[in-house]
Symmetry: C2
């Protein structure tokens, strides 16, 4: 007996890996080969490639990475928000960095009914809520609006780092995030 | 005699149109059909689809649109920089908006030697210079660094508007651009 994951997990791992490296247009055959799984399994578990791509996004692990970066930063909401940008600096300077998998899927799938789009929206709304929680604790007078601004920065970093990595867009965005927080500094500070 | 553009222009128009709506993976046949041009012309003028895609990016007209928005805003560098975000609000709220064609190409083409990547870099460097010029006139102490921040905002708006248009990311980004400018307000003001 081995601990080899079952076909469903192998398909998800292969889809996450290949769509990140090659884009969501990577062929089904390449995914099946990397997963070492029969075509039948793909349809049984996900109903087809579209369902697999959507589920691979839903289980990407990206939100957990931001939560973990915040957890490491401690309890202060300001530190926790800025930690997101430190995490982005780490992510975008890795040699394997290929951009944001959610943005890539959003842009590469012109069909608005593709199930991946709902996962992209759910991901962004989840990140928005995560930031709103911190901004409320920080005492920001407009937590939802400020979270919108931070999301624009996050999306911008992940795109800009592809073309101009030497500009260190995560550090540039961190400076703007600090301005945003300082401009709404709670009276108690 | 008609004023119908020649095959080269028709290919560029079709490529700009179809790659924007469908993505850069749109088929060559669809482009040839829309352009009403023989395959031979594509190879004669551009050496193939990759060359056409790159030239379509180089001649997209996007930089001219930013320059025009700045011109309309008058001579004040602060107004001219903020006008970029007003233009982004107009662009991203159009029903035909499908994201930034440069970002889409960058993400959809995993091959780093595809000639489109050089055009994406040239576009971003051109926009950086445009913003640096205004920031120098504004009296910003770090024009290059501030232009990096503005480029992150611009990229972020064009991505975020696809998934959360109701958040009006261009307006959210404009508020951050104002903070950036105010934080470096010239002594003369």
């Amino acid at each position: 007996m081995t601990d080899r994951p079952g076909p469903r997990e192998r398909l998800l791992t292969a889809a996450r890996d290949l769509t990140y490296r090659e884009g969501v247009h990577v062929g089904v055959d390449a995914i099946l080969k990397e997963a070492d799984v029969a075509r039948r399994s793909l349809y049984q578990h996900f109903g087809g490639k579209d369902g697999l791509v959507a589920e691979a996004l839903r289980t990407s692990g990206v939100p957990e990475r931001y939560r973990e970066a915040m957890r490491r930063a401690g309890d202060n909401p300001r530190d926790r928000i800025l930690a997101v940008f430190d995490e982005l600096e780490a992510v975008t300077t890795r040699p394997t960095f290929r951009g944001c998998r959610y943005t890539s899927a959003e842009l590469a799938l012109p069909d608005p009914t593709h199930p991946a789009h709902a996962e992209v929206r759910a991901y962004k709304e989840g990140l928005h809520r995560l930031l709103v929680d911190e901004l409320v604790r920080y005492g920001h007078p407009d937590p939802a609006g400020a979270a919108d601004q931070l999301l624009v920065l996050i999306d911008g970093v992940l795109v800009h780092a592809l073309t101009r990595p030497d500009a260190h867009p995560a550090r540039a965005a961190r400076r703007l995030a600090k301005l945003l927080l300082d401009a709404a500094r709670p009276a108690a500070e």
